[in-house]
Amino acid sequence: MVALTIAASVAVIALIGLIIEQIATGSSPSISNFGLGFLWHSTWNPSLSVGAIDANVYGAAALIYGTVVTAVVAIAIAVPLGVAIGVYLSVLAPGRTGAVIGPLVELLAAVPSVILGLWGIIVLAPFLHSTIEPALHTVVGWIPIFGPASTTGLGMFTAGVVLAIMVLPIVASISRDLFLGVPRELKDGALALGATHWEMIRGVVLDSTRPGIGAATILGLSRALGEAIAVTQVIGTGSTITKNLFANGDTLASRIAEQFIGTVSKLQTASLFYCALVLLVMELLVNLAAQLIVRRFERRRGLLV
């Protein structure tokens, strides 16, 4: 019986290995064809017609760009908002209100991405298209990334906003737990010294949990980088690198979701495997970084207490 538990545990480690092995094997035709150049070429042309320029040539640069841009938009919106919610729930919320709002924020994480995407297409995209995008363009349009609004409301910005909604509950609940862990004496001490609530929050709560907020950000980033379905629904597809945030695009994950079924050549399938490999490596790095920060944070806290 003990052996059974050990076997199950070893199986998880083997599973990680198997995932990496499968995806590496699947992408090997594309790797041998395009090498690392796959990462900085943005042509993606599944056409097989003879004589066409760059027929059956694949590169993921535009997809990597789209992945990073949408994730950054998501983080830029969700982290300040999520940390503020964490502060509200842990420090400001009067007892019963917090007990209601906390679970509601967590419930946001339970909404499936396909439903959020559907909502994104029909409710959010038209709203962003008609109000937020033109407003951003007129006010801060001198920054090239805030170009003219999209024609449909679908695009990288909309994808980023949808991702922000997905990341928000993660950041909020991690930061709430972090802030609740700040020793009461420190908070009370600051207040007793005459600090206002905000000064106490900034000087004690936020300052002592900074690495934890960093880890929460990275975990949110990890979620945003890998989301496929909702992004596919609202990003509008495209294979060029455009400065304009409101333009169409694609992420690694959304390209896989769009094209995997119905590929026209073995090389296209292999290239989608290659995309998955790039995404997997990105995620492994991001997750390891989060682990490292958390571990260092725990060690430091262990010394403090």
Binding site: V12, A93, I101, L108, V111, I229, Q291
Partner: protein, 297 residues
């Protein structure tokens, strides 16, 4: 904060009003952030409920889809049953494995052996679901074609770290006295775990399972690769063929241009979200009851 000279005489700096104002603004914005999050949840659920309700009817729940996109009438009965079957098989794989891993981590592992397993669970949890879909595609679908089973396995991989983690947390909450008492009575370690530790953590394990199941119901990315049959397929043979399911229906109907299909997407979304919210609610009730029982002891 800046270093303070403890011997300096205390003088009013006159900026108290400004500090108070900043305090008020900051507290106000934190509250506003919480309101925004709840408002988003409200708007999403309201949109789904409002638009989904008009598509919902008894026949929507009990009939299979009509043939072809854009057609009127028909329902999503096949997809509801298909989703239940796929998730049931996934749970049957992930739950026992997750519990076994959690038992190993809390009862037998040394810090040294626990570290790599914990890391593996965290990495698995951080792996994008679409990548897990690609993995199962390479593992099974290339050779055997799409099937409900392939989807179940992909969902099981997604559920496994969730199940293992919540179970582990619950096992850690079981008081050590209970284990010691079982030991003192001369029971073997394994019987102590099965007879004493697991039952007292049962509520928590169930909570974790229900949450993971709710998550699996809405998971779409791996299904696109492993089980993307859509429309009026009626095969419900999970182990042999691709099986219709709710997320794929929503995904395809949402991208269709026909108003009938958009309505169907909302109807299916409403069914799915009600199932998931009910699951989350049930999990909370179980957890509250468990906590009360633990405290009463």
């Amino acid at each position: 904060m800046a270093a303070v000279d403890p011997f300096a005489p205390l003088v009013a700096t006159g900026n108290l009003r400004r500090r108070r104002r900043i305090d008020l603004i900051m507290r106000g914005s934190a509250t506003a952030a919480a309101v925004v999050a709840v408002a988003i949840l409200g708007i999403v659920i309201f949109s789904v409920a409002q638009r989904g309700a008009s598509a919902l009817s008894i026949s929507f729940l009990t009939q299979d889809p009509s043939v072809g996109l854009g057609a009127a009438g028909g329902g999503i009965a096949n997809a509801i049953i298909g989703s239940v079957l796929i998730v049931a098989v996934a749970t049957a794989i992930a739950l026992p494995l997750g519990v076994l891993i959690a038992i190993y981590l809390t009862e037998f592992a040394t810090p040294r052996t626990a570290a790599p397993i914990r890391l593996a669970l965290d990495l698995l949890n951080g792996t994008p679901t679409i990548v897990i879909g690609v993995f199962v595609f390479g593992l099974l679908v290339v050779a055997h074609g799409q099937s409900g089973l392939a989807a179940s396995i992909a969902l099981a991989v997604i559920m496994l770290p969730l199940m293992a983690r919540t179970t582990q947390e619950m096992l850690l909450l079981v008081p050590h006295d209970l284990r010691d008492a079982a030991h003192a009575l001369g029971t073997r370690r394994w019987r102590g775990i099965v007879g004493i530790v697991l039952p007292s953590a049962l509520g928590g394990i169930l909570t974790g399972a229900v949450l993971a199941i709710a998550r699996a119901f809405g998971e779409t990315a791996p299904l696109i690769l492993c089980d993307s049959i859509f429309g009026n397929g009626t095969s419900l043979n999970v182990f042999g063929t691709a099986v219709p399911n709710i997320p794929i229906d929503i995904y395809h109907y949402s991208e269709s241009g026909f108003p009938n299909d958009k309505a169907r997407a909302w109807g299916a979304a409403l069914v799915l979200i009600v199932m998931i919210l009910a699951g989350n609610l049930a999990a909370r009730v179980i957890l509250a009851r468990q906590r009360r029982r633990m405290l009463a002891r």
